[in-house]
Every structure is written in C-alpha cells, then in structure tokens.
C-alpha cells in the first residue's frame, strides 16, 4: 500500500515526558502480546496433555512445576492481572471519564500496584493450598 504523505503523523515517543499512563499503555500491549503467545500456548498444551492421557499430562505438570515453569506461570498470572486491570481502566476511559491528569495518573499507578498485589495473593493462596 502506498502511504499518503499528506496524512498527519502523531509525534513519536521521544517528545513526551514519561509518566505512569505511558508505561501502563505500553504494558497493556506487552502483556496482551505475551498472553496471546505464551499464555495461549500453555493453555493449548495443558488441554492437549489432558486429552492425550496420563503420561502426557504428567510431562506437562512436571515441566510446570520446575523453576522455569513456575517463572512462566507467575509471569503469565501477573500479565493477566496487569492486562485485566488496565483493560478495566480502558473501559472507564472509553466512556470518557478519568482523563483528569491527577486521576488518570492515580489509576494508572493503581493498575501497577494491583497487578503485583493480586499476583502475590494468588501465589500465596496456591502455596498455602499445597503446603497448609
């Protein structure tokens, strides 16, 4: 496709002063892309393993329980919470609310705090479920 040179271009990243809203916006895409690739692959693997029988399922749970498996699963759960919270923030902004500078910044920060908190809660629950 030929690009039309008369169409306006937005100024790029380098001219803006960094703020939490930019970080959250970029994280929304990064976490979304991670969930869409790694997350979807883990989901499909888990289901296919369960459909293939005891041995295949055992392979999955063994890998998932190793340190790198846990790292991937913790990462995916954080990505899920971050993407969800920032997605909910987008819903509020879709109705035209929450654009005041201080409020926008506050809720951007809250998605970052919330996703870490929810990830910690989830894994504490899983850990206590397994050991308590």
């Amino acid at each position: 496709m030929d690009s039309n040179p008369s169409r306006p271009l937005s100024p790029h990243l380098s001219i803006w002063r960094w703020g939490p809203h930019m970080l959250v916006s970029i994280l929304h895409r990064v976490t979304g892309s991670g969930l869409a690739t790694v997350g979807a692959a883990v989901l499909v693997w888990w289901l296919l393993a369960a459909a293939s029988g005891q041995e295949a399922y055992q392979t999955f749970t063994t890998q998932a329980g190793r340190w790198y498996g846990i790292v991937v699963l913790v990462g995916l759960s954080w990505a899920f919470f971050q993407h969800t919270l920032s997605g909910l923030r987008h819903f509020v902004m879709d109705i035209g609310a929450g654009f005041e500078l201080s409020r926008n910044k506050f809720w951007a920060n809250m998605t970052l705090v919330g996703s870490v908190l929810l990830t910690a809660l989830l894994w504490a629950w899983i850990w206590w479920g397994a050991h308590g």
Partner: protein, 129 residues
C-alpha cells in the same frame, strides 16, 4: 482515463469502515474472556488437586466442558483482534504486514481448533470406570 483499478485508487486513504466493529467486538470479547477466566480460576482453585484424574473428570461434566469451550472461543477471538492491532501499528512494510496478519489468522484458528478438540475429546470420551 486511468488504468488504476478502483481498489488501487482507495488504498491508503483510510478506513474501510470495519474499525468500529473491530473495536466493539474487542471489548465484547474482553468482558466474556474475563468472566470465563474468573470462572476457570475459581473452578481450578476449588478442585481438590490438579492431577490428571481430577482434571479430566472435572472436564467431563457439561458444566465444566461448555464454559471451557466458550472460554477457548472467546480468548482466541480476543487475542486475534488484539494482536491484529499490534501488527497493524508496528509492522509498516506492506509485505510483512500481510504475512503477519495471515500467520496470525492461521495460528489463531489452529490453536483454537486443537484446544476445542482436546476439550471435546475429554468431555465426550469414555468416562473413568
């Protein structure tokens, strides 16, 4: 008199009027995907374990298999719409953009098909004796 096709004349001029629908379905599937994942997390955390027998017996129940099938459809639909936006924003060269979108569509359909088949195989298979 121009030799351009009508398609060549409108290329690069902007919207093909699909944008609003894409935007709306992306939000619709985000709500359904979120609700279904809350269901999945709560269900998994309530199971006595995540071993083979527990998970496959659970997936044989219609009340687990049907939401799981919906979760797969909703999730893959949503991730396809989202990844398409990411590709369209960052892949500018027309050839690689076309190829990326093509691969995205193939990967989405293949991934979803395998996941759906897996759930159906468990749900419709011979129950544990």
């Amino acid at each position: 008199m121009t030799m351009e096709t009508p398609l060549a004349r409108v290329r690069g001029l902007g919207s093909a009027r699909e944008g609003a629908h894409h935007w709306w379905v992306e939000r619709l599937t985000s709500v359904s995907t979120l609700l279904l994942f809350i269901w999945l997390f709560v269900s998994l955390l309530r199971l006595p374990g995540l071993d083979y027998r527990t998970v496959t017996e659970w997936l044989q129940s219609p009340l687990a298999a049907v939401p799981m099938l919906l979760l797969i459809l909703s999730t893959f639909w949503h991730l396809k719409l989202g990844m398409q936006v990411v590709i369209e924003d960052y892949v500018h060269e027309e050839g690689s953009k076309f190829l990326s979108i093509l691969l995205l569509n193939f990967a989405t359909v293949i991934g979803a098909a395998f996941a759906l088949f897996a759930v159906l195989k468990i749900a419709l298979g011979v129950p544990h004796g």
